[in-house]
Symmetry: C2
Subunit: 171 residues, 2 copies
């Protein structure tokens, strides 16, 4: 069985960004170090097209599945880069066929939401940065109301100001 792990940094008020093109420049260096570490240990990364575009260079060397509504069929752009529309394929089977064991879900909000809703979210690493944006893009942007239960597995303070790394596992 493959393990699906979402990795996200949020503000104290649950935002992953102010807007679509405002990505991870606001997160702490300690969170960036953690994120790189977990990506290094992942067999493949699932990422939405907008998020991918903001991080093409660091992601280009890794195995990536990029979610895109315009990909009617899975499109293999290079040896390690596949575009697909998850609504049109059996993603779990694709991951299994590739023998990917560890899957990192890198966002954004719609990608997290899709994985959550389709029970492809076994674990979450959530970094809470001690800042408030007041408004912005939420961690999940689901269409339906859900009740998805998790259990807190660990808590780690990453730095002096108190960026907090939480690990949740699905109940």
């Amino acid at each position: 069985m493959s393990k699906y792990t979402a990795i996200a940094a949020i503000t104290l008020d649950g935002k992953i960004a102010k807007s679509k093109n405002h990505m991870s420049d606001w997160t702490s260096p300690e969170d960036k170090v953690f994120m790189r570490g977990i990506l290094d240990k992942s067999d493949v990364i699932i990422v939405g097209n907008n998020t991918y575009k903001t991080a093409v260079r660091p992601l280009s060397k890794r195995n990536c599945i990029v979610f895109s509504r315009s990909a009617n069929q899975p499109v293999k752009k290079s040896a390690n880069l596949t575009y697909c529309n998850p609504a049109n394929i059996n993603l779990r089977q694709l991951i299994k066929d590739k023998k990917y064991k560890t899957v990192a879900i890198l966002g954004g909000a719609q990608t997290y939401a899709w994985c959550l809703e389709n029970n492809l979210l076994d674990e979450i690493y959530l970094t809470i940065e001690p800042v408030v944006f007041g408004r912005g893009i939420n961690l999940f942007e689901n269409k339906k109301f859900l009740n998805k239960y998790f259990k807190l597995a660990s808590v780690k303070k990453l730095n002096h100001k108190g960026s907090l790394l939480l690990n949740y596992k699905r109940v």
Copy 2:
């Protein structure tokens, strides 16, 4: 100087409720115990009209300032209950005149947002319950984008499933 402390329970994805009338029935018993304790120690509670309506009975014995857009002038409904529109008064002065030292801000989202934007939020007690709603009412519902910085002062695990009580202080 009076101290303004927001108290809130949120889901893992930063929601305080699914909708306006869905209030705190989803939070853990341990968070409710904590909340009662801090309200007991507060001189006055600031609460929005919608939130107040969902908790009239437990709040009726406490000093309350209820935010309401329709209160053009502060209206004293009883010895311990005042309605006001914060846009039309000097709230800090009113609190000072009453000699209230500890002020608890109980929400909802617009009340938290108003206090945040007007620098009447010195401290936050945030309980993160390990559940995801996917969508709903955000902790803050500000109109403008903000960058309000806090520092994590303490972390406490409240129960086995991992409801987490975080204390943030304004930087």
